[in-house]
Amino acid sequence: MSESVLVIMEQRAGAWNRMSLETLAAGQKLAAELGHSVAAAVPGRGVAALASELALKKLDCVYAVDHELLADYTADGYTAALDQLIRKVQPSLVLFPHTYQVRDLAPKLATRFHQALISDVIGIRAEGGPVFVRQLFQGKLNADVRPGGPAPYFVSIQAGAFNADNVASGTAPLETFTPELTASVIRQRPEEPFRESTGAVDLTTAEIIVSVGRGIKEKDNIPIVAELAQALGGELAATRPVCDSGWLPIERQVGSSGQTVAPKVYIAVGISGAIQHLLGMKGSKTIVAINKDANAPIFEVADYGIVGDLFEVVPAMVEEVKSCTVLQR
């Protein structure tokens, strides 16, 4: 058996989740570096068209994992199907995009192979076998992790870590894999996905966003940043914990479970810069960070930074902005 990498792609209603293309790029790169072969699989119902698309990539094999019972995602159904596929293909590494669906599925699947998922990976190096880089402590530290125990190893790749444009083209044989599934193994009954009534706030068109994190300490301090947003003629946004605590409405949340924004300038005030927040704002043209901790991960993406106390810096900024806008008039 030659060593191989298997990339599990994610799709919904016939469209790729973009993160799976990034993972495909990661899989091709890793396989090249390790001298492994690389295959990709797409589970679902009626996935022939997507699988044909994959067959135009530089891959050694493409598997259409097709079954009526895979029409809707369920942890039980997808685990059973991929378990069977992996036992057939016998890869040494299984790569997933680190999506919410994969969080739900991959740890269960890995357990069946006496493994644990190496989750949320941001980098891969081949050093006498693969070494995976992942974040610890909410992005404050990185760790090099080496898999051990019996293969296959299960890995999920974080959004933005690899570039989907780097996926190499080619031709690959296409195989349909029909797992043996019965309705009785699936205990979850999923209903139609829905959106909560979207609030009136559309942050995606704002040119200037002042965003506030837990560094603001309490609800009563919100006006301090609201004033800066107002002085700049921008919108006020927030991190999840700020919205969870009810300090600002959820419509103002930016991040993987909130809005994705790309303003001209994003001013992050008292925000640590956890990946789930960065996912919603790192496309901003200019990022400004104000944080008292010089090692806060937000500074990794900031163009301008002030290491300092927001309660001193922000009011001083408001005064400055006010005085120069007066001058302009």
């Binding site: 006496h114 989750s119 402590f137 404050k140 979850q188 139609e192 996905p193 300038v265």
Partner: protein, 256 residues
């Protein structure tokens, strides 16, 4: 209904982390600890379900002796009793080993429902609950923002990306991983703190649980992340820095 809530103790938020001399873990001697944030929401959810349906809430924690503080906090907030798997090196067990320990402690309790946080703030594996479900043979659902117990079943609201949600129903017993913000946290009352001292906190020895550590991956090195951007750090007093920043916003970024 019998609900087990799995609670982890993590270094307090905003801790100044220093890498240990062996380069593989942090210097953890002088850190303060607190309940992992999503676990606090999981505990609150368990307490609210108990208030609605009756039954019992059991806090479960694997960690060093010092973690008893956090367990007492769970008792003070209203958990009825607690199980503490005591081990000074719990992170060395890896996800699979840890989940095996938790599964051994849980199984004899025959719970109806197990709640965990969706992710720990330190290791951030985001998978202990799912692995636990698989080991116990229970169905599960992750990133849960609402839970409603029906007759022998549970209906949950699962968070999907970008503001989408999905309701899912499954039979009990089940495991749910709870997302922060699912409810409003309560504070422990003075009365609760007093009562907590009399509640049962059972210590379980790792040796008695019959699990051999099976680390599936090892941390070889821990380090500060490399910057992806050149950040212009603006120095000086708060007032000076603010003035300079505003100038840059005006003349370099041109938004004022």
């Amino acid at each position: 209904m019998k609900i087990i809530v799995s609670i982890k103790e993590v270094p307090v938020r905003d801790s100044q982390l220093r890498i240990a001399s062996d380069g593989r873990w942090i210097e953890d001697g002088d850190l303060g600890y607190e309940m992992n944030e999503p676990d606090a929401y999981a505990l609150e959810e368990a307490l609210q379900l108990k208030e609605k349906h009756g039954g019992e809430v059991i806090a479960l924690c694997a960690g060093p002796a010092g973690a008893a503080r956090t367990i007492r906090e769970a008792l003070a907030k209203g958990a009825d009793r607690a199980l503490h798997i005591e081990d000074e090196q719990i992170s060395s067990w890896g996800t699979l080993g840890l989940a095996q320990l938790l599964a051994k402690a849980v199984a004899p309790e025959k719970p109806d429902l197990i709640l965990t946080g969706l992710q720990s703030d330190d290791l951030g594996y985001g998978q202990t609950g799912v692995v636990l479900a698989e080991l116990l043979g229970f169905p599960h659902a992750t990133i849960i923002m609402a839970a409603e117990v029906l007759d022998g079943r549970i209906r949950v609201k699962r968070e999907l990306e970008s503001g989408w949600f999905q309701n899912i129903e499954m039979p009990l017993p089940a495991v749910l991983t709870i997302q922060s913000g699912i409810n409003k946290l309560r504070y422990a009352t003075l009365m609760g703190i007093k009562k907590a001292k009399t509640k049962e906190l059972k210590r379980l020895e790792v040796a008695d649980l019959g699990v051999a550590p099976s680390p599936t991956a090892t941390i070889e090195r821990l380090y500060l992340p490399r910057k992806t951007k050149q950040t212009q750090l603006i120095e000086g007093s708060a007032k000076q820095a603010a003035a300079q920043l505003v100038e840059k916003l005006r003349f370099e970024v041109r938004v004022i």
